[in-house]
Symmetry: C2
Subunit: 462 residues, 2 copies
């Protein structure tokens, strides 16, 4: 019998070496990790992070080997993985794999970082290069599985970032542990049998919590597999396995999965363009659902061109259908809900010319109510996701804007300066400017580090 | 807007009192807990339990407030909940809610026990009566949700014991914590967004592991909700929520759920017979899939009537369709796989007149290969699940057996002596006969205990 997809994936992960990764993939992986560290420190003091830490404080002793990023608090690795992934995703500011709307790094890097810190002074300590190879392995498989089950899996209600994140995280940690193919098969099985994250929770703490749970599940799955826990050898593709459980349209996934797995081996890429999924990762300029970004861009541009919010009579937005499905909240009551409101995004762009974490405060969200009441939105199926049209009526006349590609899209990525500034904006309030700059510079040289934690610990010198 | 099912469930749990439970329900809950303690101690030394502990030993410090049943090892509550539920289910010997094939107590009691032990010397220490009320609340809701999504949820591949167990466990712990309705709504949301357990893993360690993960998820969800983590207010019934994600046939569940919830309030019961689901819980005489039990009964009876295994030419089994779907493994290679083999069950009954944990050893499974090769099985849709027909051809002639109700079914429960002996068989090897008898007697008086842990600690005096 030919090997199934679960086994083929495990074998690919087992064999992956730094030399297999193109320069472009390495750079994308490093950038993904830098953006991860920035977003995680940006969310580390959020009330949801603090509540999760409080609950765990009542449940677990705080004498583990892991630090909370930015501090020296002793967490055990399971806690650290959960809390870091939650923090990374809480502002909806982390990275995006556009074709699936997966935020790929939060779960994978959090699990891997917890493992790396636990192994810090062991003979098995991870080099920066080992870390980046493991991170890439996790992101590749996570996104591959995501594309295989997309869109029916996501349409049905699963939060795909969490639901595939656990499997990517398990493989990243398993790779770092140097697990055999057989053990990686068990790690996939253990991770894939725990599915979490549902879209009904968007706008509540349970959205980022799901990503935290995925990180922890992945980390733990690798440890359980290493200890010899067994699972079905065909957990992804077998009868009554992962695909059937999580996919209302399993036939499509059954067809795609083995084809994508072979594209890993051939290097042709899922899309046939020779690119890895890691290379297709993108970074957000705004801390909200990515589909709102062209609207924020366009409204910010209109403001810069002289349109005044106080003179607005009406605003009509024309958008991709997913925009209203994901971010159609007309009357957000706080900053968290505002992340799912294209109406708030438009108002923030027109009022402030931006939408950074500072604008997503509960007070500012309430101040935008009047302007939001003048905004309507219409779907146009011919639009790309990173495209929109905006029509503003003011006392003085009509103003139009057509945004072809939002900033942060693959076609129009953030500049190096914008990318760096995003990092500084998030990290500086936590650890001060000096440490922030040292950390940013240190992370940029991660591939040369003998021990990856030497790089990360730059964050913990306050 | 009328309150949704999620809120109605939370309100019912919040309000439940001991006085609301009939004598029969109280007795069933106590019996469920006694059987739980027996099965958990019976699985506490299994290699899967030890591997899970080993993995957690590498991940977490061992200085928590919880003991492993039968010892004084210090686990944190999350570990304790996971490991106990895994141990309870590892031999497939725990209880069964027949209409859904849910094993209801493992996840709920493990989470609750971990909470009770963490609260042991706090002002919030749980009385035995509080414990039984919380346990019943968890089992009722777990089974109610199970019936609502059965059979499509189970048919698709979810291991229903784990997938609904986490929600029952969250509510049991939330009840014990005296959470408000609003916090219980969040606990339901947090627990229901983590679904785990797939049938493809039957026959591997990941089957009982899923139940362990459900217990931990439930425990943690209650703590997270207590700490103020939020979730969707309509997580079960809302769009892109639990039912849509886990149910390939959501319409049926949407229709059943509110009806069942109202039956909770009216006391009419899900089936309209005025019984609680806890009262419908059953206890197994054999450590394997319950659908095999009539076959073991019948073959044991044939042996007692003089049929000799060495003279058998062929055996024909006629069974309910679920028997072959769940336990159709023709050639099990070890004791774990044998639990999913009706052929092994028949052979064990005929060879040994029983099928206790001792028969499910790898060696004995291999010794039955020749006899198993002579056994065939046929489906008859008109059979009940606890019914079967057996036709044996030997050199001396034909022998027939029609088992109308297996021992351990609702119609033919184990006797008090059988129930006690099952407990002793499992517990005595762990803590010796004296402690076993003291524990059994202590558990029987749980409703009178000021602190439930005083009852359970009888297990830890070796």
């Amino acid at each position: 019998m030919a090997e199934g997809s679960t086994t083929r994936i495990a074998a690919w992960v087992e064999g992956l070496k730094l030399g297999d990764l193109s320069q472009s993939t390495r750079e994308a992986a490093v950038k993904s990790f830098i953006n991860y560290v920035g977003c995680t420190l940006g969310g580390i003091s959020h009330e949801a992070t603090e509540k999760a830490l409080a609950a765990h404080g009542a449940l677990q002793s705080s004498s583990g080997p892991c630090s909370l990023l930015g501090s020296l608090r002793g967490l055990d690795p399971l806690q650290a993985a959960l809390v870091h992934a939650l923090a990374c995703h809480i502002h909806d500011y982390d990275d995006t794999h556009l074709s699936t709307v997966i935020h790929p790094t939060a779960a994978v890097a959090s699990a891997l970082l917890a493992y790396a810190e636990a192994a810090f002074d062991h003979p098995s300590a991870l080099s920066g290069a080992d870390f980046i190879v493991a991170l890439t392995a996790g992101i590749e498989i996570e996104c591959l599985l995501g594309v295989a089950v997309y869109p029916s899996h996501y349409d049905r209600g699963w939060h795909i970032t969490a639901s595939v994140g656990s499997i990517g995280a398990a493989l990243a940690v398993g790779k770092a542990m140097k697990l055999s193919k057989e053990h990686l098969v068990n790690a996939i099985g253990i991770a894939s049998t725990q599915v979490n994250g549902m879209r009904i929770h968007f706008g509540s703490h349970s959205k980022p919590l799901g990503v935290g749970l995925a990180a922890r599940a992945g980390l733990e799955s690798a440890y359980l597999a290493q200890a010899g826990m067994t699972a079905a050898p065909n957990s992804l593709e077998g009868p009554r396995g992962w695909i059937e459980c999580v996919c209302p349209d399993p036939q499509s996934a059954y067809e795609k999965l083995p084809r994508f797995v072979e594209a890993l081996y051939s290097g042709k890429g899922i899309d046939g363009d020779g690119k890895t999924e890691t290379e297709k990762n993108t970074f957000k300029p705004y801390p909200c659902g990515i589909v709102i970004h062209p609207i924020i861009d366009g409204c910010s541009q209109l403001r810069n061109e002289g349109v005044k919010a106080e003179e607005v009579q009406s605003i009509e937005l024309t958008v991709h259908p997913l925009v209203l499905e994901l971010t159609g909240k007309k009357n957000p009551v706080d900053g968290l809900q505002a992340k799912f409101s294209v109406y708030f995004g438009a108002a923030s762009g027109l009022l402030f010319g931006k939408a950074t974490p500072a604008e997503y405060s509960d007070e500012i969200v309430q101040q935008t109510a009047e302007l939001r009441s003048k905004i309507s939105a219409t779907i146009d199926k011919s639009m790309r996701r990173d495209e929109c049209k905006i029509l503003v009526q003011t006392k003085s006349g009509t103003h139009q804007k057509h945004v072809e590609h939002a900033v942060g899209s693959l076609a129009k990525p953030m500049s190096d300066d914008q990318f760096r500034q995003k990092f500084v904006d998030q990290v500086e309030p936590q650890i001060g400017l000096d440490s922030t700059e040292r950390l940013y510079s240190s992370l940029g040289k991660i591939l040369e580090a003998d021990n990856v934690m030497d790089v990360v610990y730059a964050a913990n010198i306050k």
